[in-house]
Symmetry: C2
């Protein structure tokens, strides 16, 4: 499945191997002319849901950070993987993965499957095992190089940040940020003051982050350069309530609880957001609020609710300061893949920056007449993994109920790469010019419409289905006479005639209804 989807994604302009003429460097993908507008629409959908809807605010902070910032955040010291090199072929590997694989093999895997394997990997990754211990463990397990069978040297530590130097004087190290969050924490004091100095306050941003992975192999799942959509929701821990919780309290959320995991189960259970709070599964109402909103958001993007779950991370998997982490995992052809991490970071980041910088980052709470360091719940979305999940979930291979011999994508209209395609039935008799007028008018109205004149109309319909364009607007001879055009819906091939002047409004209406109606 993953090979088929990647093949389609490359062929149809969703993705491009970066710097392809030179042979792609692993861990880097470009978004092509079809993928880039879809990615942007996913980002816009997030902005509307997670920024605008709740009156949160958006910032855009820089990607190259001086070392001190990442020392305070813990990334310089702890953001890395144990690395080991083969003494024969010189290839480098992640030591923890080698150990986890070896343990898995020895255990014969039993019937517990991937989940337990991943847990072991997580455990192996914990600070509990330092490079020395991993070196010993590798010797104990007799692990040899998977490529050439050679022996391994000592395990070292590899920091996963891209390092550089800022300015012409050496000794001013900087790093490409490993997450967008730190920029938000440092921007917090000014944003807080510019907006009435009140809590709660949500500040988000969409942007690139970077991780210099050791040997990334899994397409969009493990990239060295990727896009995050992160929201830091700052609140007074004395009242960890969300003002709009009432809107989602009945919303069902699928959770793989800690209890289930410990007992070896892989089954998610359904809870309402309200139950998550009452049963104390979520650390507070704000966390439950976001899990509910994330569920709504994923469903609206075409990821069915049965295909994802929130895994409550075990205490041992989370940092000491964490008040609780939930990973939204989607079932994909790569297995369960974490695509959102929602973390109760408490006051860790602001406190660390206050301590390291010597600045007072506390805020004054008018009602309580005291200063506090706000707490933070952070939903952190990986755009590329979500993009991939949408591709997988919306893919329809040919030969289905529609009797098509081409594969197509059932993207929700609001994130489809193009809002519609405009197709003149023929190039001649003024049809092309008429259709050009239509496409201009649509673009003026904010619809990113494609225009296509080449090939038979049937071929052009198929081509649009293949990239998931929800509507094909065709200009024919009746258009010239009566000013009406046909609109064909991707999913069922049904067509209706509508007056050309009403197109933008009718397309919006169709998109809401999920079908075309007379």
């Amino acid at each position: 499945m993953k090979e088929e989807i990647m093949d389609v994604a490359l062929k149809r302009g969703f993705l491009i191997p970066s710097n392809e003429a030179y042979g792609q460097v692993s861990g880097f993908y470009d978004y092509g002319s079809v993928g880039a507008p879809m990615k942007r629409k996913i980002e816009d959908a997030w902005r509307k849901s997670f920024i605008w809807r709740d009156g949160n605010l958006e910032v855009e902070t820089v990607m190259i950070l001086p070392e001190i910032v990442l020392k305070a955040s813990g990334h310089v010291g702890h953001f890395g993987d144990p690395l080991v090199g083969c003494e024969k072929c010189k290839k480098k590997f992640r030591a923890d993965t080698l150990v986890a694989d070896a343990i898995g093999e020895k255990a014969g895997e039993g019937g517990q499957g991937e989940h337990v394997k991943r847990l072991k990997e997580h455990l192996a990754r914990l600070p509990g095992m330092n490079p020395e211990e991993l070196t010993e463990k590798m010797r104990e397990l007799g692990i040899g190089c998977p490529e050439c069978g050679g022996g391994f040297g000592e395990v070292g530590w590899f920091n996963l940040m891209f390092k550089t130097n800022i300015g012409p004087v050496e000794g001013n190290p900087g790093y490409a940020r490993p997450e967008t969050a730190q920029g938000i924490f440092l921007a917090f004091p000014r944003v807080f003051r510019a907006h009435g100095s009140r809590l709660p306050l949500g500040i988000g941003q969409i942007g690139k982050s970077f991780r210099n992975e050791i040997s990334p192999r899994q397409g969009l799942i493990r990239l060295r350069e990727f896009t995050q959509m992160e929201l830091e929701y700052f609140f007074n821990p004395e009242s960890a309530l969300h003002p709009r919780f009432g809107e989602v309290e009945g919303r069902k959320v699928r959770v793989l609880t800690r209890e289930a995991q410990v007992s070896g189960s892989d089954e998610a259970q359904e809870f309402t957001a309200k139950e998550l709070v009452e049963k104390k599964i979520a650390p507070n109402q704000i966390m439950a609020y976001f899990l509910a909103r994330e569920t709504e958001f994923y469903e609206s993007l075409g990821v069915p609710s049965g295909d994802f779950r929130f895994r409550h991370m075990l205490k041992e998997e989370t940092p000491h300061y964490s008040g609780g982490n939930f990973d939204l995992e989607v079932s994909t052809s790569y297995g369960w893949v974490e695509t959102i991490g929602t973390a109760y970071r408490t006051d860790f980041d602001l406190s660390s920056h206050a301590k390291t910088s010597g600045q007072d980052l506390s805020v004054f709470i008018e009602e309580e007449k005291k200063k506090i360091i706000p707490h933070v719940v952070e939903p952190s979305f990986g755009v590329d993994r979500l993009f991939w999940a949408v591709l997988e979930k919306c893919y329809r291979s040919g030969g289905g109920a529609e009797g098509r011999d081409w594969s197509w994508f059932d993207f929700p209209p609001r994130i489809a790469p193009f809002g519609c395609a405009v197709l003149p039935l023929m190039k001649k008799d003024g049809l092309k010019e008429y259709a050009e007028g239509l496409v201009r008018a649509l673009r003026e109205e904010g619809v990113n419409a494609l225009f296509d004149v080449s090939g038979s109309i049937g071929k052009r319909y198929a081509r649009q289905d293949e990239i998931g364009t929800p509507y094909c607007v065709t200009a024919d001879y009746e258009s010239l006479e009566k000013g009406t055009v046909t609109v064909r819906f991707r999913n069922d091939g049904k067509q209706v005639r509508v007056p050309a002047g009403e197109l933008p409004a009718r397309l919006r209406e169709f998109a809401k209804a999920g079908k075309v109606t007379a």
Copy 2:
């Protein structure tokens, strides 16, 4: 002026010094909660004008590039500045700037002003003067350290790219891209094939680029991390025509010609786009088309046409392969600042990548039955400089005709940070809840509306003027009775009452008219 605007921009949430708690590293700014949405609207406006309108396509390519790409593009070899260090205080300086300043001082500047100074700087920067020659020149002019008066050592060469290493094995250098363009060139073959293999084809992208400036000092004008909006327009040089040239041929464009510059003049002349072609000032129709569209675009963002010009760069200032470059320069409080470069890059980039990679990057022209390397005209916009220009041009200091004692911004509504503000007259009597309903409905309709309940209504109006919010929607007791609200226009303070349900449509209408009407 620049200090006043920067002060206002920082205070009101447009800009934030990056990592402020640690002391800002020069050359880095964040966009705050007011600036970020405005920046995004400027980018969206560009997307609509330069991508959608003409049926061009958009991609998103990676920022970290392997060295070979930037060797082919010439950046590894040539993208740098001559650097010299003081032997006493160890500070580093750009040698060419020191030389240009010294020449300027010696010449007493005459009456020729900044333009000639900049020309000299340009000339000093040309490959004509290598580090050895600059070293000699500095000695000849007796240049000492401007900070401590100490003597200088030899001039060296400093590459302006941020360098890093890709992966755990040393010796795989990568760089943060110095421009977005190279990613587009490398994506070209796949985008071309995915869209019917036809020329002309415009491919653009919006994204961050990076230059490790030696000692950047000029606010948003010289950043180490900045955003570009670049379009590469690929065409067959046998027919360098733009299909929509007819729409702009009468558009006036202000050009500072090469002749004027050589004769020492600083006066721009007006030409129609058609005249630029006929008089062979523009190298082709495509270049003239873009200069006309750029003029339209800037005017629509609130930069008056009298405040910018296209400087036709002198032959000596452009690379050997260039078919002609025009810099759009805006008159700002920093002097004339280049904010767009429009370059006829001929086939240089594709040819270089073909040569270095050994791949065939030519395309087959059906009509001529031959293979060619397409030529390219590239309009390259600097978003941050444009953002700054908009701030300067739209700033209205208090005490004007409106009799205000607060300063405000006259942003065109479509790029104002917030589409409107919703203000309940009072917090009590259900007015707050009514206004909350309004703000939700507006956000659903795609208006990024602010909500503000704190302080007197007059204070809140002033606060919105200060960040350039075009409309204030106020809910009062009549709203509760009759379902109507007042809409106040920023520029003149005039108010009209409109039914709440018609708000989104009426706001769009007001934005088009540039005022509020009953």
